[in-house]
Amino acid sequence: MSDLDRLDRFLRTDPRDVGCGEAMAVLHIYADLAAGGHDPAARYPGVGAHLAACGPCSENFAGLLAAVTSG
């Protein structure tokens, strides 16, 4: 990835992005879908768009997914 590709990705916004509040409200459903081998972004594209852009929310998703798959 070139320098400008990284910048371009950082600046790119997705109109489907639902924001932190809505994404965190369904995080448990999203995580269960992911843990079950489904594609949660297909059911919740706005949440997928948000998690792709928001590092802190993505961290929360990673943490919850790790928790539910740890047994």
Binding site: R6, L27, P56, A67
Partner: protein
């Protein structure tokens, strides 16, 4: 089953069992279920603070304390909101969500006990690294960085500028800034979202970035 608002048949067996035990009228089984759930929350919280230990200035015993506080607060929230569980996920996933979000929030608040960078520092010299635009490697970097700063200075409100500088320029974690400014995380995200939109639009207009047709919203 009063708490989930759903008949048992719509829940997986494990979730239904959690709800049955946690809402039991008999004290001893309920206390045992609460003890078991709390132990799980503590385990998850400790694992989570450990997972995040590389990205927070919180360390040592304070990190362990954060985990226990998060588990305790999550437990209280779960019991208070048991009736809100709708069975859209497994119960335990719903419960773990509380503790993960508590860990995130508490690490944000604890950030300010020993912050690596103070609010409003404005480390603009680090912007090339933050944005991945290296002046040594890219001929247009100086112009791009100057344009980013111009947009921040000229087109953002003082509040938007403060948030952008804290998050993007100084690298303060979003949860930490939310705690410091007493704002919801989403309010900060929206500021950054709008700033990204403005900056990208300006860089496209100046010819630094192309694909204007892919500009969204």
């Amino acid at each position: 089953m009063e708490h989930a608002g759903l008949p048992d048949g719509e829940l997986d067996a494990e979730s239904a069992e959690w709800l049955r035990r946690l809402s039991a009228s008999d004290g001893a089984p309920r206390v045992e279920a609460e003890r078991e759930l709390y132990a799980r929350l503590v385990r998850i919280a400790l694992a989570e603070v450990n997972r995040r230990s590389g990205s927070t200035p919180v360390t040592g015993q304070e990190l362990t304390d954060v985990a226990h506080q998060a588990a305790g607060d999550a437990m209280l929230a779960i019991l208070a909101k048991l009736a809100d569980f709708r069975g859209e996920s497994r119960f335990i996933t719903w419960a773990y969500r509380f503790v993960i979000l508590e860990v995130s929030s508490k690490l944000g608040r604890h950030y300010w006990r020993n912050p690596p960078v103070a609010l409003d520092t404005g480390q603009w010299e680090r912007l090339p690294d933050r944005l991945g635009v290296d002046p040594q490697r890219h001929a247009e970097a100086a112009g791009i960085l100057a344009e980013v700063r111009r947009v921040v200075d000229d087109e953002l409100t003082p509040h938007q500028r403060r948030v952008f500088v804290a998050i993007v320029v100084d690298g303060i974690p979003l949860d930490a800034l939310a705690a410091r400014l007493d704002l919801r995380r989403n309010a900060i995200y929206k500021v950054i979202f709008d700033a990204r939109l403005k900056i990208r639009s300006s860089l496209v207009a100046k010819g630094y970035l192309d694909k204007p047709g892919m500009e969204q919203r």
